[in-house]
C-alpha cells in the first residue's frame, strides 16, 4: 500500500511497465489493457475496471467484487469467481469453429 495516498498498489508489476516509445503513457496503456481484458472477460460475464492506476476491481453479474493488484491476479481471481480455469490454450476455440462454420456456409452458398 502506498503510505502517502493509501492506495493498494500493484503498479510495479511487470505488466504495468510502459514501453519506452514516443508518446508512451502509462495511464493510456492501462486503459487499453483493461479494455482488452474486458473483451476476454465479457464472454464470462465478468467486468474489470481500473482502480486509481494501481489496482483493478473485478466484478461479476451477481455482485461479487474483488480488488486485485495485477494481471496475474486478475486471471486467478476470475478463475475463482467462475469456478473453472481460463486456459489461453483453449480459449476462443469457438471463434475458430464460428469461422469454420461461416466458411462452410459460404462454401455451401457458393
Amino acid at each position: 500500500m502506498c503510505g502517502m495516498c493509501g492506495l493498494l498498489g500493484g503498479g510495479r508489476h511487470w505488466s504495468n511497465t510502459v514501453a519506452a516509445g514516443e508518446g508512451a503513457s502509462a495511464r493510456q496503456q492501462r486503459y487499453v489493457q483493461v479494455a482488452h481484458a474486458n473483451r476476454v472477460l465479457e464472454g464470462f460475464r465478468l467486468k474489470l475496471v481500473d482502480f486509481h492506476g494501481q489496482s483493478f476491481v473485478l466484478s461479476s453479474q451477481t455482485g461479487a467484487q474483488v480488488i486485485v493488484e495485477d494481471f496475474m491476479q486478475v486471471w486467478k481471481a476470475a478463475e475463482g469467481m467462475l469456478g473453472r480455469p481460463l486456459d489461453p490454450l483453449t480459449l476462443f476455440d469457438d471463434d475458430d469453429d464460428d469461422d469454420d462454420d461461416a466458411e462452410d456456409a459460404e462454401e455451401a452458398h457458393a
Binding site: 505488466s15 514501453a19 496503456q29 487499453v32 489493457q33 496475474m72 486471471w75 490454450l89
Partner: protein, 352 residues
C-alpha cells in the same frame, strides 16, 4: 529518473552437489576483478566446508547458518539480504557493488528468484544480474536421472559452466544436450584461466541476445534432423527419458511487431494457467511504436522486470522471438493461443 539509493546486482550461482560451485567461486573471485563483491554462502551437510573454501576470497563474506536455501527459506534469504544491505548502508561492511549468492546443490532456483523479484524490500535494493549453473560433466547423466533439481537448475540458467570436462569422456554430447534443454543459456567450459567475468557478467546484454537468437535458430535447424538426438546416447532409464522428452524447448517467432498491452494479457494468462509447467521463458520483442528491443525473462510464474536494450544488434533481425522451456506444451498450441487472442480482440474491438 534516477534512484536515490543503489540497486545491487545479484548473481545466483547454482549447480548440483559437488559440481564445483565453491571451487569456481574461490578461483575466480580473487583479485581486482572481483573487488566490491559480497558473497552469500549456505552451509549444508558437512558444514563449514564451503566456508573454508570461500574463506580465502578477499571480499566480504556472510554465512547463512541455516541449511538449505531452497526449502528452509524465503524468509531467511530475505532477512540475510536485507540485513546485508542495511549493514552496508550503515558502513559496517565495505560498500560492495554486487552480490554473489551461492545456493546449495539441492536448491531449485525458482524460490530464490521469487524472493529476489517478489519481496518488496529485497526487490527494491537488489536485481538479478544472472543465474549461473555449474554442471558436473562426470556425473551429469546420473544426477539428471535421479534428481529433478538438476533439471530445474539447468533450465533456469542464463549461463552454464561445464566443470570437470577433462575427467569426462564425451563432454561434447553433454554440451549438445544442455543446449537442447536450455537454448537460452550461454554455455562455457570451466578452464583454469577463467576470470571473474564467467560468474559476474550480466545476463541480458545485446551481444548475449544476438547469440541466443542465433542458437535458438540453430536448434530449429537441428530439429530438421541434421544432428542425431543427443538424448538417445544418454544412459537414461526409459521412464526418465520419457520425462526428458516431455520437456520441450521451442522458439516462437513473430514477424509483425507485437502490441504490448495484448502481449502482457496473453503472457499473464499463459503463466497463470501453465506457469507450473513453464520452466523458463526468455525473449526479445519488437513492439509496435518502439524502436528499442525489449527483453522478457520468466521463471515459472515469475517475470523479471522488463529490460529495454539500446538497439537491435542487427537491424535486419528485427523480429520478436520467444524461447520457451516447458513441459507438455508445444510450439503450435502456444503460438496458436496468441494468434487466437489477437483475433478475438480485433473482432471484439470492431463490434465495440
Amino acid at each position: 529518473m534516477s534512484l536515490a539509493y543503489d540497486v545491487i546486482p545479484v548473481t545466483i550461482v547454482t549447480g548440483f552437489l559437488g559440481s564445483g560451485k565453491s571451487t569456481l567461486l574461490a578461483d575466480v573471485l580473487k583479485g581486482e576483478a572481483a573487488r566490491d563483491t559480497a558473497v552469500l554462502v549456505n552451509e549444508f551437510g558437512e558444514v563449514g566446508l564451503d566456508h573454508l573454501l570461500i574463506g580465502e576470497v578477499d571480499a566480504q563474506t556472510v554465512l547463512l547458518d541455516n541449511g538449505c536455501v531452497c526449502c528452509a527459506i524465503r524468509g531467511e534469504l530475505k532477512d540475510a539480504l536485507a540485513a546485508l544491505f542495511s549493514r552496508r548502508a550503515r558502513g559496517e561492511v565495505p560498500p560492495f557493488s554486487r552480490v554473489v549468492l551461492e545456493t546449495t546443490g539441492l536448491a531449485t532456483p525458482a524460490p530464490i528468484v521469487a524472493t529476489l523479484l517478489g519481496d518488496r524490500i529485497v526487490s527494491s535494493h537488489y536485481s538479478i544480474a544472472a543465474i549461473v549453473t555449474v554442471v558436473d560433466a562426470v556425473n551429469a547423466g546420473q544426477q539428471r536421472m535421479r534428481h529433478p533439481e538438476w533439471l530445474a537448475q539447468v533450465t533456469a540458467a542464463d549461463r552454464i559452466v561445464i566443470s570437470k570436462a577433462d575427467l569426462a569422456g564425451d563432454a561434447c554430447v553433454l554440451e549438445k544436450t544442455l543446449a537442447q534443454l536450455n537454448p537460452a543459456a550461454r554455455i562455457a567450459w570451466r578452464t583454469n584461466d577463467a576470470d571473474a567475468s564467467i560468474v559476474l557478467d550480466e545476463a541480458a546484454n545485446a551481444h548475449d541476445f544476438a547469440d541466443f537468437v542465433r542458437r535458438a535458430g540453430m536448434r530449429e535447424h537441428d530439429a530438421r534432423g541434421e544432428v542425431e538426438n543427443p538424448l538417445a546416447r544418454l544412459n537414461a532409464t526409459p521412464g526418465h527419458r520419457e520425462g526428458l522428452e516431455a520437456l520441450n524447448a521451442f522458439c516462437i517467432e513473430f514477424d509483425a511487431p507485437l502490441d504490448w498491452p495484448v502481449f502482457t494479457l496473453w503472457l499473464t494468462l499463459l503463466l497463470n494457467r501453465h506457469g507450473d509447467n513453464i520452466l523458463r521463458v526468455k525473449g526479445i520483442l519488437a513492439l509496435t511504436g518502439v524502436a528499442q528491443p525489449v527483453v522478457v525473462h520468466a521463471v515459472h510464474h515469475l517475470v523479471h522486470p522488463v529490460l529495454h536494450l539500446d538497439a537491435w544488434a542487427d537491424e535486419g533481425a528485427r523480429r520478436s522471438r520467444l524461447v520457451f522451456i516447458a513441459q507438455g506444451l508445444t510450439r503450435e498450441t502456444v503460438a496458436d493461443s496468441y494468434r487466437r487472442l489477437c483475433r478475438h480482440l480485433r473482432t471484439a474491438e470492431t463490434v465495440d
